[in-house]
Symmetry: D4
């Protein structure tokens, strides 16, 4: 058919191929989901509109749709569940960043990570971050999501001793250039220990964090 | 002559014309300084190299040259001095931002403002800022100078109740684009109360702050 | 809940948190407005569409909606009113800049400033500006709003002796790049005393001006 | 040889080919000048460094070198001289724009136009422009040269009834981006009647103005 | 009212103010048209949608609407008509550039210029241009409109001896960046005698050409 | 003094502050190194020129200088050494990327990580990568350094199951824009599991990898 | 009429003019198609929406519409058909690039080339490409279509010995900038033998490949 | 060693690896040249400065250095020579583009292609191109090199029926942005049949043309 699903991934990378839903028709997504469900124990489709989700769920009602994160997903009952107290911290600056933060959090959960959420704690009122700093410090890795000037990852990274994955969002206007400003901020951070994914790429942030978390949990 | 010095300024704006030294020859600067000294009680030339400064000072040894700020300046003895306890806070993120911070501080001092300096207090080690926060809060206006990701003005502005003038610097590399990244950060700040001047424009920051400070001091 | 409203602001900054309405649902705005009304004596929501405004006003009919400025706001009857003759000048270049100019003017009024408006006085017919120049000179601070080439703040700043806050707008086309051209013009002004806020950020301009105006009015 | 000089130009366009000196060796310039002198009654080479000029003048001492404009030129004694009172106004904003303004003025003179210069009359002290406005209004066409925010052409064009050629310069720093800011300003001018040439392209401005001036002088 | 129409223009510049229709409501346009009709002998409104045009014409049926050029205009019967054989050449590269070319042509006609049109003669089939070259050479000034790579003005300018006004259009896709590519091409032309207006600014091109044409026609 | 070294870092983050050598004078570096040596068991200075390194080593000959990586560093004899077989893979595309790759590798080694190097294995001859793929797969984390089109991290990440830190370099020319092209490539990778640091930021890549490696090694 | 169809092309270039459908009305397309059908043995219109295609096909039902490639086309029965086993390889990275890949493939077929398609073989799962590498190596020329990071042409070009035409697509988001990222990747490829067409320009890629293929087939 | 020369290339691609000389030391180049000379019958190093060339030639005097093209090269006596009348046309717009044009021409010659040069035939004097058009039409493929506005490939491609490889150069100033303007022009050409390589990438243009030329010559 038109698609050439990469079914070697679980073997090669430990996780099945995730479907990029944007720009695919509902029919294309249905065909790919069918193939994946036959071979894998979980399915994740990103950037799915409500309409397409409804069309897919008409055939596969066991898939869950999360409309803020725009994710469509399913995990086999017997799929591996976490066996550790360790968790990933997902932190976001403003309420407008919620969609991207949830995309990151659910992606990580899909790959068997425990997640704790710390939302609306941006630098304009920095006491809100300090309120949670001990719980954040205890995480294995932080995913920090921010739009506007995107300063939050720098502040967080200066306060913790674990890796920080920064996710810029397109929330902003004017000289924000659809997230470019926040992206540049994060790439130029003076606080070391930050690495960055694409604008609005909650999935990418969640996935990289899950890889790191898996390393932290594969204890002796 | 080639130049048309704006001698109405002290009347129109309260401050004499400041000379933009970049791209002017030593001879051009000397000619302008001569005219200004005849009419005004102070002279300020910005962005002057060491060589040009020496050439000018050979003729006008009373001018002071500050090599970090690259300023050349002089004030008549009897020029108005401050009559108030109020001060401007000049804050900078890293030691590499010193030149721009000093350009701002000395500019403000040239226009009869009291200044207090808070240097190397960037967000990567945010406790350094908190250490001085009470003294900063007590200022009339803050000039916050930062390169790299330029996050410091957002944090400061969230903690004070006076206006913040943000000055991005070209300190950084790669996706910093000679200060563009820091500039965008400051324009997109989620903390209100910040206005921004051009990259490395310490003079502009100092001048705007001096105008604000003058308003604050013209009490009753 | 999803939001973490910063209720310390009046204490920390003298003004309550202003809500960024863009990208928030009507329900989210309603929840935040409810919290704010319980704690503060005024509420301001920016960038609100007509539809969302109607939904919020169905529950809080005391809120006023200004459709050109896209602001939704309310002040307690007993809220502090001005006690001074001083005023902020809000100046705009063309009739297309009205929305942003009004956002600035009303924001300043919300924070208890007196405002005088000087509209459609752009540089293409500069006699229109000169007509009002005495009244503008008498202000504490000017907010100058301009799209297209954004030259107005330079001309104004050369004629007054108080601080100028420049607000670029996205009015223009072609090589205007949604306001980038006007923004750059303002950042590069050869007239000192100008500081700049983000494109279309009338709120930011009004807020910064209000902070400066407050300093000017706290007379002895 | 390596070059293919366009000797049809005087016939096709009324003016001989002008040599772009940048990136050519002194030897290449000498070879081209030799060919041009054999066929034409004038020679103009732009963007010539002092060193190259000296090398060329060693062989052709009759060529004049102007070091501010970086032009090398020569006109046959009997070359056509002006027969009219009409003149082009060359206006510049600051003393740092002198080089580009002179490149424009001399180019126009090379093509037999009368020129009047109005220098250092930028918008930060706009009274300096008004001082000369009647003489400017009487020109056939204005060339307006400006760096920094580049606002001067808008103001001039609003005050005259002839065409304005705007020449942005690379004078500025930070978010000026080597003249891009001034260029955008001029392209977005709200005052009609302005057309624009490349950054620092004094030659192009002078040439276009000369073409217009020639039309104005070819009276009945 | 909200607008401050510049009624001095005919005196100052020989042409009345032209209305920028984009971003104005039908009601705003009606109010301005009413004022202008009272004082001037012609009215021109640019960038008017079909809907707004209909609303204005309901009140002022004597106004003509041109839907390709998106212009709304009217001239008093007794308004000055041309008294010369001279004409402006309006040249465009592809059929997709028609709207901008017509905006330029009609603007010039509104200001009493004779116009001749040469359309769809782009460089991909350059014999189409050569077919008309004698008639183009005979014009006073050429307006050359082109999108895509925008190469046509360079070719035309190399073949004529009069000024060329280049108008880039936003026709193109991908790395065209809404006309930026064509704009840069025109600014960097190796053929002298070209000056440039903003992307899609047919009005600006027509207006500048009209000013030049007027000079050429004011013979003896 | 001028600098405000962040001495809390080892406590807060497990690693001492690293000095950004660019733009600091030799004297400033010496002062900071002196302070750090008094408090910490290792010192790392980045982006140091040969001249400055010599000046520092005149006083502190125990510091090592690596001229390709432009690093200056020192570790106390008794500083913690690795206790594990695990290693970080440092991979680079071309020989021109060596400097940045070494900056990353040595940074990681400074923070007690084992490192294996795989150099000059870019995608133009992809068999060179496959030759080493088993050893790369066995690493805890890969740092992939590439200039030009920067495609290598995508290929590597598709073949391994651990996190990939991508470091774009400024090696390239023309439309490479000093590394921007490679940076964008890495941010847009279709292979998940990649996060990115600034252009030429070998230090940042090494530091982030070290944080991840530490997690992987803190077994049971 | 409004259009000036270039009917010399088959003589000059061997292929008739192709119509750029974007921004043309159905009526304009109909008029051009009518002219072309009278003179040529094939017609190709690019970037046609479903609606316009239906309107054209109402009059010319013999035209075929391909809705993924958005092409409208027709070939006379007796039009030349291929006389060779040689073929062009059309390769694409992901299923979202299908539209552009089909535009390229059908364009090549319209100009009498044999085509073989290799779809969804992007670098994230590079074994999919290796699976087809022998068939790809046997082609005369490859058209490689890719969005996201656009790394596929580099990998293909390193494995084949024929020319590669790279076509970047606008598939991606965030720092992809509508295909700019993929375009830059391809221009900066370290693998020689790649030349690039505009973003989403499947037509241009197919046309250039057809010219090359024609050379390869004109054997002895 | 540090480098991992790709010695499979002649087998895989028919041509040996070409060395990118920029950013390599003379010693590195010497080491690579030694390896290549042992395995291949020709060596080509690009972007070599005069100094490095001298150092390499001290050891390998049989290598030729071309200082305009900045190439260093050598071919074994018995290396294959051309057996056909077919040739590649290398066309350039101005004398400043000579270096890049020669880089392209010599690269093609190194890979056994016959080349004819047509230099200084830019669009400002288009008759110069027409003078040579028949010889250009007879080529198998054209390499068109142009800086400034980069319009030449469009004009050439409209006149020939073979593929055109366009090479933008960084010759220009101001809004040329080091070749970006010419690059965009070429990518947006309205004349089909053009594909583009990186700015100043004469090597890439010559290599792609050689691959095409080889196809054209492998006759029956
Ligand atoms: N129009 C606006 N532009 C920029 N910042 C705003 C605007 N309106 C409100 N804000 C700020 O945005 C923050 C609230 O963001 P949020 O938590 O998303 O509601 C507060 O710090 C406000 O000061
Ligand atoms: N090459 C580098 N790139 C980015 N950040 C660095 C680099 N080297 C050191 N740093 C960071 O820069 C900060 C020190 O800056 P400074 O106070 O200017 O010495 C520390 O937070 C370091 O972690
Ligand atoms: N999708 C396309 N992208 C770029 N050029 C095209 C496309 N389709 C047709 N063309 C070219 O556009 C020109 C026709 O433009 P027009 O006169 O506007 O129809 C011809 O030279 C075609 O080769
Ligand atoms: N001027 C050039 N521009 C782009 N690529 C080049 C150039 N010269 C050589 N190359 C390629 O660069 C690679 C060699 O890179 P390196 O390993 O750094 O020598 C080979 O794939 C060459 O084909
Ligand atoms: Mg909030
Ligand atoms: Mg520091
Ligand atoms: Mg108006
Ligand atoms: Mg001056
Ligand atoms: Mg056409
Ligand atoms: Mg190599
Ligand atoms: Mg796929
Ligand atoms: Mg020439």
């Amino acid at each position: 058919g038109f698609a050439n699903v990469d079914l070697h991934r679980p073997k090669r990378q430990g996780f099945p191929e995730v479907v990029f839903g944007e720009g695919k028709t509902a029919d294309q997504i249905i065909a790919i989901v069918r193939t994946l469900k036959e071979h894998d124990d979980r399915v994740l489709v990103t950037r799915v509109t409500q309409d397409k989700a409804a069309a897919v769920r008409a055939l596969f009602p066991e898939l869950v749709y999360h409309d803020v994160a725009r994710l469509l997903y399913w995990k086999k009952e017997q799929a591996k569940t976490k066996e550790t107290d360790a968790y990933i911290a997902v932190i976001c600056a403003g309420t407008s960043d919620l969609g991207v933060a949830e995309e990151a959090a659910i992606t990580a959960e899909m790959f068997d990570c425990e997640v704790r959420r710390f939302y609306d704690v941006g630098v304009a009122g920095i006491h809100r971050l300090f309120h949670h700093i001990e719980a954040i410090r205890a995480a294995t890795v932080s995913i920090v999501v921010a739009g506007m000037e995107g300063a939050l990852p720098s502040v967080v990274s200066g306060l913790v001793s674990h890796p920080v994955i920064a996710v810029p969002t397109s929330v902003g206007y004017g000289a924000h250039f659809q997230g470019l400003s926040a992206l540049l901020t994060m790439l130029n951070s003076c606080a070391p220990g930050i690495s960055v994914v694409n604008i609005d790429n909650g999935f990418g942030g969640g996935y990289s964090a899950a890889l790191i978390h898996r390393l932290a949990c594969q204890k002796g």
